[in-house]
Amino acid sequence: MITAEEIKEKIEKSIPNSRAEIINEKNDGMHFKAIVRSPFFKGKELVEQHRMVYSALEEELKRKLHSLSIETGEI
């Protein structure tokens, strides 16, 4: 299992000046949505922005994080 707080920390540590809001969509500790804002996304394609979020959670995605929806934007 993974908590919303852990996901938030991983993302904010990995992406410069980012703010992440994590929603446990079904309140089951399985289905999460990450809303991530960072000035670092500026000029990057959506694919690149989402890759940065995935890359922050690389290990988690292999094991304990099975459903992650991502929304990204600039600050």
Binding site: L46, V47, K62, S69, E71
Partner: protein, 84 residues
């Protein structure tokens, strides 16, 4: 699109979402069920440097997953990309 299951019977919420977006946009697509071949499932992730399924390609170019597809459709960009 590389997906889990088939357009008629998607095996995960994100794959179902992607099918729904494409169908709503009346966009013709071909799909491959990654559950039918573990090598393809791993291979496509490696190829596109993207850790999740579904994966959508338009004219050979990797576009992203279900969330990106939804966002592009919402902005009307998906239609342009598919020549509609």
């Amino acid at each position: 699109m590389f997906m889990k299951g088939t357009p008629e019977e998607p095996m995960c919420g994100f794959s179902a979402k992607a099918v729904e977006v494409l169908n709503n946009g009346k966009i013709k697509f071909e799909s491959f069920d990654v559950y039918s071949d573990e090598d393809v499932r791993a291979g496509v992730k490696e190829y596109s440097k993207w850790p999740t399924i579904p994966q959508i390609f338009i004219n050979g170019k990797f576009i992203g997953g279900a969330d990106i597809l939804v966002e592009l459709a919402g902005k009307g960009e998906l239609k342009k990309m598919t020549g509609g």
